[in-house]
Symmetry: C4
Subunit: 319 residues, 4 copies
């Protein structure tokens, strides 16, 4: 019974970020540059695949406006065709002598109904045209209600811009060395209660089976109350660090990846802010030191130069 | 005094999910398939029963649009009747010779006022008709303000699609057996900080009194930072597990139910995600092993096949 | 130095809900029935006193609609006066022969502009009238944008309906007695992760100085995962309870009040739910037992009868 | 190896609010009066610098309305120019004889289209003018959808008004002295679960290097369940306080600053509330006592006079 317990216990203590142990492909990142997971879903239901609201919220602004314009045109074409089928004589104010322009008259009457501008130079007469116009105005209002909701959804979506240094570095630190990277809030709005967790993952081979293992790295400081300047995150490579004894070659060999999850609160809306990042082993520079970003303007304010976020000097490491 | 304390202490340590001990009916689930509680309320106040906003937010989209259409028609009928009562001569532009079409003219004028399209081919003259038209336009704008709010409420409601395997299984695990089920996020948006708690409930008889008891089951892993692939939740049936010694028959006899509460954060909006599920004892398969869902496309991406979520192979259990 | 520390330490350990020790009036509750605090503010800045958004969100629906109607009327009166001052000849379509109806024409033209219905039977000509009409249409749209925002704010505000039993009771419990009250979610939507804290407050006199003291009461169960049925909150009056030895008379004499703070999550929107309640000493019934609320419909569903929330039977207490 | 660990460990235990140790300018505050951080960013990307939504949400109301008016005017000028270029003969209803007023006719037609009021006295004829009018009505609706979203964003933004006493004081407290300040919720809406943390920061010189150090100050009470009245925050200056032995002169010499971070929940919307404040060493009064703010109206309500928040009496300190 002891043996059972010990195996179960050991498995329980193994770290796992939720990726599992089977992602052991060579040179394949788990987290891509934009903080996305490197997994593709197949076999979703149509609704889950479409995920319409999510797509409309996360699409670029240019795409969003093009989409609105397309929906507007298509709806107008559909309703214009309906009016045309019902007969142009049911739209008062249309010049019936010019057959060429009649469809466009129907089209623009449709646009005027859909947007509820309703100049009235062209106006519906009779049941059928009036009925379609009534439905069109309702559709237009629903459409703009939906657009209003989408716009607010896009606005209010937490959208932090946290910059990470392009490289993580191994730097001399006190009387040992440390794994470091740094990050900064690019926007001027304030982020508070910012915390960071750092996980080191590598593929290990045991009895011929390759499996991916995960190790949490202890940080010098994993939470700050305020995040007004750049923050250099430091993991000291002491004897009990999972990085102790690793080299650039051993990390490349074991497909090592450093995964970062950050969490904070955007002060403007008290919104939670979550951001992921990862450094693959080829983004790690051995023997470097970040250049300072914070300066003094000689007056009563501190200056933070964001352009220096990636800058470092090469230095020699502690033995 | 000792005895008092010990009884109070014992009661304090008893687990309870909030269902209490009295739900002991045979074959009656506490949590239904959709994660709802199997309890019906009577004697609510009208307002609490109606719970209007909640209903309008949770009704299906088809029902929502039909409702909007009905409200639109009913409002138009009411206002059309008012204009008709005031007298059609107060609506300029109506063909007074055709008594048949007059009501429809009033109806469509109403629709044009409610949607604020206001072509003006028909327009109110005189105090009464103008007054009603002014109220109608205000009503229309209020109605569309309400619809805009409802639409945004529907959009922004957390709507996770987490799939659970149809069956929970008893599977061989290390050198013992384990209770397992698995779940997966069907959508492509990311869920982070996902945690699960699992409670085993059964009816016990003591001194002739049947009462429902609850036991938390220790999990191999109750929280993952990321939830990009399928997650198999594992409770090892070691000697100190409440499931130790149970059989399919004993579970059926005691109306056993396994209740699951999950919690996470949808990354797009930093929304909290809560989901319940339960496995009744007849949904438990003894001696099975889930088929893998994660595959390799031979290139630089992992493939997750959601259609395999329910699939398992029958295997023999550890003794 | 010891003495200093011990005084500071003692003060640090004293419980305080945020009311302080100075609220010692006879017969004055700290928390009123609706969960409000019994404190009035004077000397606020105008803006803080007005607290406009908050008021418009929390005012009753009837008041809200009356207010919208008033704003609509007042705006129309203002703009109608402007058109009248500019001269009715600048509104095309107005019957200039009937001086009596001219102001009303201006009024209804204003209403048609504000709501953007714009029939056009009356239309502005010339710079001044057109300019005012342009400003009015903009104002109207802004007004309805504001109303839309307010309506959504009202909808989306967490609005839990948690019923508390009218009386708290002292009931026999195991082999001692207990302070109990019960609560139930009146709505059918689900509340999860519900927790309760209970504080007993009384006025104590020491060296002739009356001061209000606060004591947390240990609960049999202070949190439930689910809240589908009624929940009876139980504080056992064992020897180490602050209530041990108290009587109805001693509680009345010391102006005792039991204050309750609850917290949970409304499942529909993952909204936090906070609710306060208090029982004054004259709402406490000594020697009673709540009647059951949960029944069995003989089929596969449990029935919860909310009308019984306040019902109890008188019983004799344990010695 | 011991030495390594001890240095790393020591650095790990050093407190840091996120400002780092390098902000050591004389007389320069870290947190300004409004709770902003005294750091300026340069080198942001244009998008991060613009931070448009944030600006539009946080700009004053007067600025917001002026901006809306400007956008409205500019859009109308643009579209009016387009109609003028297309030719005024394509706008039916324009007085073609008066060349002077033609541009204004185009301008007001534009306003009527953008707001979708569309009286129709002037109406587009022909493809080009109708097309532009169709685009303008769509633009208008989009613009008002955006304004609606912005207005709701402005409304729903957590906007606590927590007043802090102008000065922090050193006051006699029990048998020692204490650092105190007080705060009060100026609004009548309720804030619950209010917590405070207080950090004392000063510049220290070691081996000729000036560095800023941070020390958390233990509070008599760091959290209250309710926040209905004023709350005096108290740090007792016992022998183990970082303030022990400091004087007004030593604090001025070391550029001392007291930084406060508060957190709570606004009860109306269950919104999180975060507020920062700081007292620079010249805002600290040695030997003072706050005057009471809470009074009794002789009836059943307590009165809180907000005008007294800053008031104190000078007293002599404990030795």
């Amino acid at each position: 019974m002891k043996k059972k317990d010990s195996l179960v216990e050991k498995e329980r203590n193994r770290q796992d970020l939720g990726f599992g142990t089977k992602m052991t492909d060579r040179q394949t990142r788990l987290i891509t540059g934009a903080g996305q997971f490197n997994v593709k879903r197949v076999g979703q239901s149509f609704e889950a695949w479409l995920n319409l609201y999510n797509r409309l919220i996360t699409v670029r602004w240019s795409g969003f406006f093009v989409l609105v314009l397309c929906v507007y045109l298509v709806l107008n074409l559909i309703f214009a065709s309906l009016y045309y089928l019902i007969g142009m004589e049911h739209l008062a104010g249309v010049d019936m002598t010019n057959t060429h322009s009649q469809f466009w008259d129907a089209f623009f009457f449709s646009a005027q109904s859909l947007t509820t501008v309703g100049y009235g130079r062209i106006a519906p007469v009779g049941f059928a045209a009036s009925f379609v116009a009534g439905i069109e105005a309702l559709s237009g209002l629903m459409m703009f209600a939906i657009i209003t909701g989408l716009l607010y959804g896009r606005f209010s979506r937490p959208n932090p811009r946290i910059l990470f240094s392009r490289n993580a570095i191994i730097a001399p630190y006190l009387d040992t060395n440390a794994f470091m990277f740094r990050m900064v809030n690019e926007k001027s709005n304030q982020i508070i209660n910012m915390s960071v967790s750092l996980v080191f993952s590598k593929v290990e081979e045991k009895n011929g089976v390759r499996s991916r293992q995960y190790y949490g790295l202890t940080l010098e400081r994993s939470k700050v109350n305020f995040f007004p300047t750049n923050w250099t995150i430091v993991h000291a490579i002491t004897e009990d660090s999972p990085l102790y004894g690793e080299t650039a070659e051993s990390l490349a060999e074991s497909d090592a990846e450093f995964m970062i999850a950050t969490e904070g609160i955007d002060d403007t809306f008290a919104d939670a802010v979550h951001k992921r990042h990862s450094y693959f082993n080829d983004e790690l520079v051995w023997g470097a030191k970040f250049k300072p970003m914070l300066e003094n303007d000689g007056e009563e304010r501190y200056i933070l130069d964001l352009r220096k976020i990636h800058d470092f000097d090469l230095v020699s490491l502690n033995p």
